[in-house]
């Protein structure tokens, strides 16, 4: 049973030139680097991370995975993403701890049922398991729910999505990093990219705190910092707002909740981690900023909402709250582009609070994009141009609150 401790993170020599450089040792960056090396034989690749791998959203998210999105542009990507966890576990020989507990989204009005029905029908049309439950069935699934008339937003029903669940976020970061190293990719932590050098419309080099690197291909996968980076280094502005999003956990409890449960009306989701903590989050502070400070308002709100849905949780105790950043686009879908407007410059950002579940699969296609120069069909809908062309994706039906435009 005893295993040898092998290095997860080797120390690599800092080269002055790479075939491709990935900015950001987050999920998307590591996944892209891994697939560049593994699928395309491009292993002269560096991942440049300003702090440590998983410092950004990768290490702060609540690790929920699901494929019950609203639009057919998004569904296939997330559907493939879900199927990838077991495959990756085997491939990386690293237990990513996919806990396939299923997700339940609650509806608190007929209007909400209608919008869930749209998601459910779309999922079923794509062969994805998702179904509508009435309030009683919700209660059978999650006995801790209060389905009486007492809560301010009584439960009308819910969308049950069995294939979803949670994955251990650290495991994905470390597993991918180990996979990268095994394939010869260099990971440079404590190194910040400070500039991207462009000549004649083409990427030529990047500047880092440890020196210049010559490269013709750069991926901006700096998570929440991507938009600032694009503006600062390339003068490209993005339709993005960077907001703080917080999450928290209770003290560990014996099994109480067997699913991920979420509620739009209450702005809350919760699930029980393998350790037994109830992990919960959802709201964002509605103003842009780059701090990961948490707020008194938020933890109180979360307690109010949770105890409405699950009265028994009054007897649980919060033990830790933390904050991360979410880079939000107006239609709650990411922005993926390459060779536009600068040749050799690729970007994969705008993942807000939903970019964990899609990280591996996006990395896989992003790597193909970077290797071949051709944008794979599955990523095509996500171009930044869609906004200019008045073709919002429709991943959210409601007007977003963080934009002054609504």
């Amino acid at each position: 049973m005893v295993f040898k401790h092998e290095q997860l993170l080797g120390k690599s020599r800092f080269r002055s030139s790479y075939d491709a450089v990935i900015i950001g040792g987050g999920l998307h960056g590591l996944a892209t680097a891994y697939y560049l090396a593994k699928d395309h034989g491009i292993n002269n690749v560096a991942v440049i991370e300003k702090r440590y791998i998983g410092f950004g959203g990768a290490g702060r998210n609540t690790a929920i995975v699901r494929a019950n999105q609203r639009t057919q542009e998004n569904l296939p990507l997330y559907q493939e993403a879900l199927k990838l966890w077991p495959l990756l576990t085997r491939e990386l020989d690293f237990n990513l701890m996919f806990y396939n507990c299923g997700n339940l989204n609650l509806a608190h009005s007929d209007a909400a049922i209608k919008s869930l029905r749209l998601n459910v029908s779309s999922a079923q049309f794509h062969g994805i398991d998702s179904r509508l439950l009435d309030a009683k069935e919700c209660k059978t699934l999650v006995p801790a729910l209060d389905i009486s008339d007492r809560p301010r937003y009584p439960i009308f029903g819910g969308m049950y999505h069995p294939p979803g669940g949670i994955v251990r976020h650290d495991a994905v970061v470390w597993g991918l990093a180990r996979g990268c190293i095994k394939h010869g990719v260099h990971i440079h932590q404590n190194t910040e990219v400070t500039d991207i050098g462009v000549k004649n419309g083409k990427v030529e080099f990047i500047e880092t705190t440890r020196g210049k690197i010559k490269t013709e291909k750069v991926l901006n996968a700096a998570g929440a910092y991507s938009a600032a980076l694009a503006y600062q280094m390339l003068d490209i502005r993005m339709p993005i707002s960077v907001l703080t999003i917080q999450a928290m956990v209770t003290q560990p409890l014996k099994p109480l909740m067997d699913h991920v449960v979420s509620s739009g009306a209450y702005h809350v989701y919760a699930n029980q981690t393998l350790k037994g903590e109830i992990a919960t989050g959802s709201h964002m502070d509605p103003w842009p900023n780059y701090t990961t400070q948490n707020t008194a308002y938020y933890i109180k709100h979360q307690a109010e909402a949770l105890t409405e849905l699950f009265p028994c949780l009054k007897g649980a105790k919060f033990m830790r709250i933390w904050g991360g950043l979410a880079d939000m686009t107006p239609d709650m879908a990411p922005i993926i582009d390459g060779n536009d407007p600068v040749e050799g410059y690729f970007v994969d950002c705008g993942w807000g609070y939903f970019g964990f579940k899609s990280s591996a699969v996006t990395g896989k296609y992003m790597a193909r994009f970077m290797a071949t120069g051709q944008c794979p069909a599955i990523l095509k809908p996500f171009t930044r141009q869609r906004f200019e062309k008045h073709r919002l994706m429709g991943e959210t039906a409601a007007l977003v609150e963080f934009s002054p435009n609504n």
């Binding site: 993005m238 339709p239 701090t291 906004f387």
Partner: protein
Amino acid sequence: MSLTITCPICGKRSGYEFRYGGEDKGPRPDEDELTPEKWFDYTHLNTCIAGMQKEWWCHRDGCGTWFKIYRDTRTIGEVPLPVEDKIKDA
């Protein structure tokens, strides 16, 4: 309620009483000038600056005023208006 904001009318209040109104992008452009590109620029594009930002806020749960402040997006905190700006805005 980490953030506090100083409303020109009500004074310093909790940030949650306010609504963020975007980066200060200057007056509304003429309608005829708004090609799709310029329209996109004015309505949706942000600099997302990590640093000092001039921006609009509305005291929504208070007096309802719209006003501009400077805020450091790295610390969340409001910072005093630079002098030259005071003169320009006056």
